[in-house]
């Protein structure tokens, strides 16, 4: 086994263990790993961005694909936020390009893809069972009560207040569920790292 092999074997293992040591104590070793991840990650993203620009923009442009030229212009305009104050407003054209195209793409498809089918499903599922119907009714109650919690223009008097309070409980359930699913992902990521260590140490 060469020194390079040994380093490839042990550096990731030691780094992961130091990274996980934060659970027990914040110490300089952990801060070193944290800094290394941020630095390494930034470097990696930068290289990937340049590589993408080269393959998707510059190479086709040099090859005569001039339709991509406006992309360069609007891309460069976004950097005008670092320009002198007088011409800084040019950056807005770059953002307008992105935001405008994004909104155009989303709004036209949101109604037919997201809103209408959800409503249709709530009121009628082909072959719906009793449980589906009950679920839909509960879903509707949750929708109304949570919505009422967010109505701030009217005083929360008894009816609206009670509805809002029930909505708040539903929100708490949803946030709890959201947190638990986040935990699931963390468990999966931790498990994979433990497997990585065990593999490197030939335990698996």
């Amino acid at each position: 086994m060469t020194i390079a092999d040994l380093l490839l074997l042990w550096v990731p293992v030691v780094t992961i263990v130091i990274g996980l040591s934060f659970v027990f104590k914040d110490w300089p070793g952990w801060r070193w790993v944290e800094t290394m991840i941020i630095g390494g990650g930034t470097g990696h993203v930068t290289v990937m961005a340049f590589q993408t620009l080269r393959s998707n923009l510059f190479t086709p442009l040099i090859g005569g694909n001039w339709i991509l030229f406006p992309v360069v212009i609007f891309g460069v305009l976004m950097y005008f936020r670092f320009a002198p104050n007088k011409i800084q407003y040019f950056q807005r054209y770059g953002y307008a390009w992105i935001i405008g195209s994004g909104i155009g793409l989303v709004i036209s498809t949101m109604i037919q893809g997201q809103i209408l089918p959800v409503i249709k499903q709530t009121v009628n599922i082909p072959g719906a069972t009793t449980i589906d119907t009950i679920n839909n009714a509960i879903g509707f109650v949750i929708f109304v009560t949570v919505l009422s919690y967010f109505i701030f223009t009217v005083e929360h008097k008894p009816t609206l207040g009670n509805s809002g309070r029930i909505g708040r409980y539903f929100l708490m359930i949803a946030f709890g569920l959201g947190f638990s699913t986040l935990l699931m992902t963390y468990f999966g990521v931790l498990l994979e790292r433990v497997i990585f260590i065990m593999r490197n140490l030939s335990l698996l």
């Binding site: 994004g102 893809g113 699931m184 498990l191 497997i195 065990m198």
Partner: protein
């Protein structure tokens, strides 16, 4: 004489030192992996629907696999990708697989996944005929919409530099109209939304998902009308493996994951009840 008051059960539970619990947590991860312990997995209804949908697609249908796997979500997304890849490649209906990536690191992690989970391509499956791999589609929703509109225009070459026009399998795949299902593996909620808008909303393509655990909440609102089934992270992958009748690393991970979740669940319940009993429901205010 000063009155001494002993702690009740809830207060004593809350005073259990944290170190043994952490060590127990680590032991619960390592023991199943070390000794190859697996527990039977009962597939959930969405997992069964996921499996059935793929197996029952018309022969020769095109599957667009959209992976957003990267370093941060690899542990939770990779098992699902591996199980799904196994399912598609070994499905009797001779599915055609097109792999695209939502992230720049996607191809690298895809290769790592195939190695880690020992995904072997069946001998009768050939690159360019049965499956093809493309690179990162830049631009999130704009990129995805563009590739559905004009696949050849968006991807003139595959990931390995071969012209799309020369790939046999791609001769019949030009736009979203030629795709039978879109499968996503992601921890990005926005990807779920834009697939619904662009693939289901514009082209009526049915969707399947193998999301990370944290993203399943974004899939559920569109299930079962847009998403016909889903497998949730690592546990979903283990369930899919049990449906396919294969074991391997994913099943071991599924067992370790179940033990971890069980401990976390018990501690959470004890913490919530204990917290309530020692404050609002008990004597302290």
């Amino acid at each position: 004489m000063a009155e001494t008051k002993s702690d009740n059960i809830w207060e004593r539970i809350q005073k259990i030192p944290i170190l043994p619990l952490r060590l127990l947590f680590i032991a619960l991860i390592i023991i199943p992996l070390l000794f190859g312990i697996t527990i039977p997995m009962t597939p959930s209804t969405p997992t069964k629907q996921y499996y059935d949908f793929i197996r029952n697609m018309p022969a020769g249908s095109v599957v667009l696999f959209d992976s957003q796997m990267y370093g941060w979500n690899y542990g939770d997304c990779a098992p699902g990708c591996a199980s799904t890849l196994n399912l598609i490649l070994n499905s009797p209906n001779n599915l055609k697989l097109v792999i695209v990536f939502e992230g720049s690191d996607g191809p690298m992690w895809w290769a790592t996944m195939q190695k880690d989970y020992k995904v072997t391509i069946p001998q009768n499956k050939k690159y360019g005929v049965d499956y093809v791999q493309y690179g990162w589609y830049v631009g999130d929703e704009r990129g995805f919409a563009a590739l559905l509109d004009n696949f050849w225009g968006y991807y003139p070459k595959d990931y390995f530099g071969t012209d799309t026009s020369t790939i046999p399998m791609m001769q019949n795949i030009h736009s979203g109209k030629d795709i039978g299902v879109v499968i996503s593996s992601t921890s990005l909620s926005a990807l779920i939304d834009f697939e619904v808008r662009q693939a289901y909303g514009r082209y009526g393509i049915p969707l399947l998902s193998a999301p990370a655990g944290m993203t399943v909440m974004s899939v559920i609102p569109y299930y079962p009308y847009a998403y016909k089934g889903y497998i949730t992270g690592l546990s979903g992958a283990a369930q899919l493996n049990s449906l396919m009748g294969i074991g391997g690393l994913t099943s071991l991970e599924g067992t370790a994951f179940s033990f971890m979740t069980l401990e976390a669940f018990i501690l959470a319940i004890l913490g919530i009840v204990g917290g309530y009993m020692t404050t609002r429901g008990g004597k302290k205010t």
